[in-house]
Structure formats: structure tokens, C-alpha cells
């Protein structure tokens, strides 16, 4: 995902001279293509995320679209008030980019586990959350974000994730994106709906007997605004099972459940699979920790 991000950012910056990248002293072996090609629009703010985010807002207020880049919780929680007051309240085109979403940095410990970021970002009224499920969705999110400048948060995995789309899809905030249809003849629409890096898990689940009759959909763009269009989409499904590598509290599944509550007539069955707090304070590989938190075929189907 990191490579798709920087390739797309370079391509977009080549045709838009208002794109700026500010990193928080991170991005080794990732951001160099941008820094080398656009040295006047690349800044390393150092280990100072509050200033990085305030700077970004100040530049954005003068017509730039600024991307801030760091890992895990550093560009989000460390500077949450700058995101809230400076970016979101002023409706400025700053995209906060966090690499290592979920438990991608599983071995590095709790400080590097980004499992509460959705909760923070979805509480910001203007914030568009972009949580792509594969590199193709990263490119689609980037194109949408640049074409529709607003406060936004791009949550990336790390590197080497497989593609589940054959081409870059068209995205619309809040719209479920078809990734793998249910078998033909299945008239009851059952959906596995993933956001972020759990798209691969959704595809695995679809290959099990329990979920073989489900369609797999992805929701790479969401937030407080797109919540209002969820009831109409939910009405078209008998059941929706959400997947996310984030703690259950304040996450994607709880967001969808709140949206469903807006429709008293809804008959859609909702089930959310998210991480339990067992992962907090434990280290291990991403797969190990996801399974510990409840996100594996065995834990979901067992």
C-alpha cells in the first residue's frame, strides 16, 4: 500500500502544483520519489507532530493540499487537537496519512498499534476516512481525495498487500464497493462488508461454507457525513457482517450499527467482527495478533 500511495502522490503532484508532503521524520525508503522530484514541496517537520499538523493547516489555508505522513498513532492521537481545531473545524484540505494501520507493526508494541484511530477520526464532523483494502483501493482513494479536497485521513497498511481488484475502482464516499459477488441464484443478499486491511480476510471467509453465499464488499471511504446513506444500502441486504482491524468500540461496525438505528424499519441483521482488547499490550505478527483479537477464519467460523 505504501508504494501505491507514493506512486499515486507523485503522479498527482506532477499535474497539481499545490500538493505538498510533510513527513514527521518517517518514510525512509518510501517518500524519496516525491522528495527528489518535488524538493520545494517536501518538508520533514522532524519529530514534532503537533507542529507538523498545524503547519499543514496553515499551508492548506493558503491553497495547498497538504499530506502529512507518519506511522501508526503519531500523526493522529499525538496531534488530535490540531486535527480537530485547525484542520477539521476550518474545513482545510489536509490529508493525514498513517502507515501501519491496525496491527501491521504488531511486534513493536502498543505504542505502534493503530487500533483506535477510526474512533478518533470518525468523531470529526468534516473528516473523510479513507481505509483502502488493497493497493488498487489506495490509488482510488488518492484520486478521490485530490479531486475532492477536504479534511481526510488515509489509513495504510505496510507493504506487499495483494490486490483484490483487477483495476482501480471508482469510489464514492459511503458506497459499498463490490469486490466479489455472491454465487449466482442467491436471491437473499448477504454481505461481508470490510474496511481497511481486513478485505483479505473477507475473501478468505467467502471460501468457507459458512460464508459461501455472501457477497464481499469493501467500504474504503466513510465518515460522519456518509453515514446518512447507509440505511438505504442496508435495506437491500438481509444480513451484513462487518470486518475491521480496529477495536470494536468506536469502530466501523459500531458506525454502521448507529447508521442502521436511524432506520427504525430496518430488518437487516448486523454482526460486527472487530478486535477485542486482548490485543492491547501483546506483541506478535499481524496475523497472530489479529487471530488473538478475533479476526481469523478460525475465530469467526469456529
Amino acid at each position: 500500500m505504501r508504494n501505491a500511495f507514493i506512486e499515486e502522490l507523485v503522479a498527482l503532484a506532477a499535474v497539481r502544483d499545490n500538493i505538498v508532503l510533510i513527513v514527521g521524520d518517517l518514510g525512509y525508503s518510501v517518500v524519496e520519489p516525491f522528495a527528489e522530484r518535488f524538493p520545494k514541496r517536501f518538508f520533514n517537520a522532524g519529530v514534532a507532530e503537533q507542529n507538523m499538523t498545524g503547519l499543514a493547516a496553515g499551508m492548506a489555508s493558503e491553497g495547498f493540499h497538504v499530506f502529512t505522513y507518519s506511522i501508526a498513532n503519531f500523526p493522529t492521537f499525538r496531534c488530535a487537537e490540531q486535527i480537530r481545531n485547525d484542520i477539521d473545524y476550518h474545513r482545510l484540505p489536509v490529508t493525514v496519512v498513517a502507515v501501519g494501520g491496525g496491527l501491521a507493526y504488531g511486534a513493536l508494541g502498543y505504542s505502534h498499534h493503530a487500533v483506535q484511530d477510526y474512533a478518533l477520526m470518525r468523531s470529526m464532523p468534516q473528516m473523510l476516512i479513507a481505509s483502502p483494502g488493497d493497493p488498487m483501493e489506495v490509488r482510488a482513494c488518492m484520486r478521490h481525495i485530490v479531486d475532492h479536497p477536504q479534511p481526510s485521513y488515509l489509513r495504510l497498511g505496510k507493504a506487499g498487500e495483494p490486490n483484490f481488484h483487477a483495476a482501480v475502482p471508482q469510489l464514492e464516499p459511503g458506497r459499498w464497493l463490490d469486490v466479489s459477488p455472491a454465487p449466482a441464484g442467491n436471491v437473499e443478499r448477504k454481505v461481508l462488508l470490510s474496511t481497511g486491511a481486513t478485505l483479505g480476510l473477507a475473501m478468505e471467509l467467502q471460501r468457507t461454507p459458512a460464508y459461501a453465499d455472501h457477497a464481499v464488499c469493501s467500504m474504503p471511504l466513510w465518515g460522519m457525513g456518509p453515514k446518512r446513506i447507509q440505511p438505504e444500502q442496508l435495506r437491500g441486504a438481509v444480513s451484513v457482517t462487518t470486518l475491521e482491524d480496529h477495536l470494536a468500540d468506536g469502530g466501523f461496525g459500531s458506525w454502521l450499527m448507529e447508521a442502521c438505528r436511524q432506520d427504525p424499519a430496518s430488518l437487516t441483521k448486523l454482526r460486527a467482527h472487530a478486535l477485542s482488547d486482548d490485543v492491547c499490550g501483546t506483541v506478535g505478527s499481524q496475523n497472530t495478533l489479529n487471530a488473538l483479537g478475533g479476526l481469523s477464519v478460525g475465530r469467526i467460523c469456529g
Binding site: 496553515g58 499551508m59 492548506a60 493558503e62 481545531n85 476550518h90
Partner: protein
Amino acid sequence: MIDTVALARTVRADALRMVCRAKASHIASALSISDIVAVLYGRVMHHNPRQPDLADRDRFILSKGHACVAVYAVLAARGYFPREELEHYGADHSSLMNHISHKVAGVEFSTGSLGHGLPFGAGKALAAKVRGDRWRTFVLLSDGELGEGSNWEACLFAAHHALDNLVAMVDYNNLQSLTTVDQTLRIEPLAAKFEAFGWNVHHVDGHDHAALGAALAAPAADPRPTMVIAKTTKGKGVSFMENRVEWHYKSPTPAQLEQALAELEASA
């Protein structure tokens, strides 16, 4: 040529009327900066009240957003909006909020939580550098606000990137929320700190308009950002408010307002 002393007197009087009408706090903080904003908007900054979005205007950020009535008053006095609108300060649904609001004509940035203005202002200054624009950014901080670490992050950045188009000012009245700055979280030696961070530091009497004008004037060739440490008196101009911590909170009664306005009138 604008009489900035008279402008400051108008700012103080209107600030007093606003907080009295709205039963609001922070009048002493506004009186502390009234001379600074009068000099900025009266003679230092390039701006046009009829064109708040003028491309090459100088930008002003009030980081100590609680002192907003002084800025609302100076903006009204200079013609950004009718002076009568000040009467809506603090009212339900008013854009004239009790911490400075970008919904008011001429206000660049909303603050209220301290430590946000200098990083934001550094971003504006950096934007001007990237574009090759010559306008300047002025940021007014409080002394107690310097406890926020984000200011020092921005100080490092501005000096490292030679933001000579950034001017920060500290309203140094040595009185913060509960007691003096000295007794709360000591900031001295303040000038030496900023100099060590790589800033061009000026000391001025924050109520001396000639001195403020000279310190805030366009600098000679110097790649460093400018820091103006303005020694001020909290509550300046109203005898019973000067250097009294309670006027961070209290709102003047109508009788106290009359007394305060009479003192201002007598000083003319």
C-alpha cells in the same frame, strides 16, 4: 496617517462594552494587547478592510484567542464590519464568539486552545515562501501560553527554515490564569531562549506605539524569524483592573464600565 493611540482607546472602550454586555471574561487580556493590535492594524500591516481576502495582505493570527474582543474591536474600527455588530458579541448564534472566530470578516484563524497559533502561522509563512510571496504573518501569543510545547516545536521549525516573513509577539504581562507566570511555570530567561532557538529577538514596551512600530516594521536583511517580547500590563488603562488576576474572569458591572470608560476618556 492613523492615530493609533486613539484607535487603541477605541479598542479598549469597545472591548469593555462588549464584555460588560455579554457578561464575559478575559477583559484584562484584551486590554493588555489593545496597543499591539492598534499598531498592527493602524500602521504596520498591509491590509484592506474592504477586501479581507486581498491576496498580498499581511496575515494576523491571535493565538491567545480569549482576548478576541480587542481584535473584533479593531476590525470594526478599521471598517471590516459595522461597529454595531459588536453588540452581538457572545449572543446566541453570533459569529462573534467568545474565542476568536474565523467566521468574522478579517479573522484568519479560530483559536481558543493555546499553542495552535504559531504552528499555523509558520505554515502560512512557509506557504508564502514556497510561492515567493512577500506578505508577512504576525502571530500574537500570551506568556502563559508558552507552556505549550507546540510553540517550541514551531520555534525550531521557523528558525530551521529561515522564515524571515514570520513575526511572533509575546504579550508579556506576567499574569496567567491563577497567578504570575513566574510562580506558575517560569519562562525566564525568555529572550535568551528565543535567541538560542535562532530567532531575531526585540524587547519593547508593549504600550509604546513608536517602539512597537519600530520592532514590527519590515526587518533588514536577516534570515531569522522575528520575536517581539512586548512587556505589557494586564488590564492596561483601567486602574482597578491592572495587574489583578480576578479580571481574567470577572465581567465589569455597568457602574464599573462607566468608571473604566471615564478613565479612558480622561487619558485622552
